[in-house]
């Protein structure tokens, strides 16, 4: 074989490898892990004493019963979702900005994601429908990652499952399943993912040791907080009509109603007027969509 042909073959092999990587199917990968999850779950239940196994089972049942996709949003992001009637992911958002600003979407993304551009792109491009992924977290109550978004959107799981494919990852995709290069750590990801009907096993195995020491009223916070959550990866479009309800901290909720009162006295600051106006617009649209608020006492 000539030197040129050898180089061509190597290049071809490399391209094939990239193509193969870029065609990983997340839903299929999740399904492929089902048997292993079932084995591990049974082992964990079998190895535990009676009280512990009962707690694990109760937790697993609660995940089956209440587990759903939660997404935290800032006010203007939520308003955009309600106005647009669909949730744009980062790639779709960049396309939109690109069309408006007249610069390539990849540049828009680079600017938006800064040092995390390479990782986000490497992860999403690794999967055949990765550019359509929408990220959320498993939620069984509570405010989720409230530091990054005071509104926690809770989707009706039946409605989402009917329209989209939902897969689950034991931890955050960018923090746990990327190598330094960055490339997707396939071995780790394959062992840590679950399809929707196995999410309760994934969650139980993740929290098994902690569950023994935590009271059930802490479980929602244990399952989903800023630094620890089970990531939901949704393939398909998320629309406001899939919303179950929107959770908000009691302090924030009360404050917005207070702002509405102060508006009549003319003593509300400009910033607070903008904030309560966004809340009013959100409330208006939620009411029209038949979606209600759920307030949560702040931790």
């Amino acid at each position: 074989m000539s030197r040129g042909a050898g180089a061509w073959c190597r290049s071809r092999r490399r391209k094939t490898a990239i193509m193969r990587l870029a065609n990983m199917n997340f839903a299929q990968t999740c399904r492929a892990n089902a048997a292993q999850l079932e084995r591990s779950f049974e082992e964990a239940i079998g190895a535990a004493d009676t009280a512990t196994s009962s707690t694990l089972m109760r937790f697993a049942e609660r995940i089956v019963r209440e587990g759903c996709v939660g997404i935290n949003m800032r006010p203007m992001v939520l308003l955009d979702f309600l106005n647009r009637d669909c949730l744009l992911n980062i790639h779709e958002w960049a396309e939109r900005v690109s069309a408006r600003a007249g610069k390539p979407s990849v540049e828009v993304l680079r600017e938006k994601l800064g040092p995390y551009f390479e990782r986000r792109m490497a992860f999403d491009r690794h999967f055949d429908r990765g550019l359509e992924f929408r990220y959320g977290a498993l939620n069984i109550g509570g405010l989720g990652a409230k530091r990054f978004g005071e509104y926690c959107l809770v989707f009706n799981h039946g409605r989402i499952a009917a329209r989209c494919t939902v897969g689950w990852l034991k931890g955050d995709s960018l923090n746990h399943y990327m190598t330094d290069e960055p490339r997707v750590d396939e071995a780790k990801l394959c062992a840590d993912c679950a399809s929707d009907d196995h999410k309760h096993m994934l969650a139980t195995l993740k929290h098994a040791s902690e569950l023994v020491t935590r009271r059930p009223d802490y479980w929602p916070r244990m399952v989903c907080r800023e630094d620890c959550y089970i990531e939901a990866i949704v393939e398909g479009s998320l629309k406001p009509d899939s919303l179950g309800y929107v959770r908000i901290g009691k302090l924030d909720f009360d404050l917005y109603w207070e702002y509405a009162f102060i508006e009549f006295t003319g003593k509300l600051s400009e910033l607070d007027r903008y904030r309560v106006d966004a809340f009013a617009a959100i409330d208006e649209r939620l009411q029209a969509a038949g979606v209600s608020w759920e307030t949560v006492e702040d931790a």
Binding site: N72, R119, W257, A260, F261, F264
Partner: protein, 205 residues
Amino acid sequence: MLDLKAAAWEDGYAIVEEGGSLFTIRPPYRRENKHSIAAFEYASGVAKYGLMPVSGSFEDWGSLIEHLRRKFLEARKEPPDAARIKKLVERAPKDAVATYLDRIEHELFPSRQWRAAAGILTHLLRNPVVKRDSDVLDRVSFLLEKAEDGRANEDFAKAGLADTAPPLEEEFALVKRLYGSKALELGEQIRREGQVLRMGSSLAA
């Protein structure tokens, strides 16, 4: 020294580094809106929740918050919709309605903010929570009447200031020259007593 690391200007959210530790902050910039986060959460803030990497150094929290406030206002293009904010009162939940009524009685009435009170109460009449509960509806109606009375009295008091108006001779300088002093006397009498001429006497006769 504080370093601004990431922000979402339009919502006033930010990630800030202070002495090697990272914090998130957001409006209304109270103590409970500031939280410590781990370094890896910064990645989530940017890559997942859409905060944009930015930079800037600030002497203290006051100047940083001032900067965030300014950027927030710059990022919002449309002015707030006052009518929409006020209409929110029509959808206020039960707890908020109770708080509104207490505050109207104990804050707005004593400080004679009749218009503000009447505005809130008028919107409250359209609130289903009020409409459904006859006790609450009665209370709203009673307070609204009181607010309207207060407003009317205030208007009357303001109108009373007209008594200090200058004499007619000064106010209508040509009247005396054109119609004589009798016309001015009649004008002063009307100002004092209202209508003084008999009306409809020919019909009555």
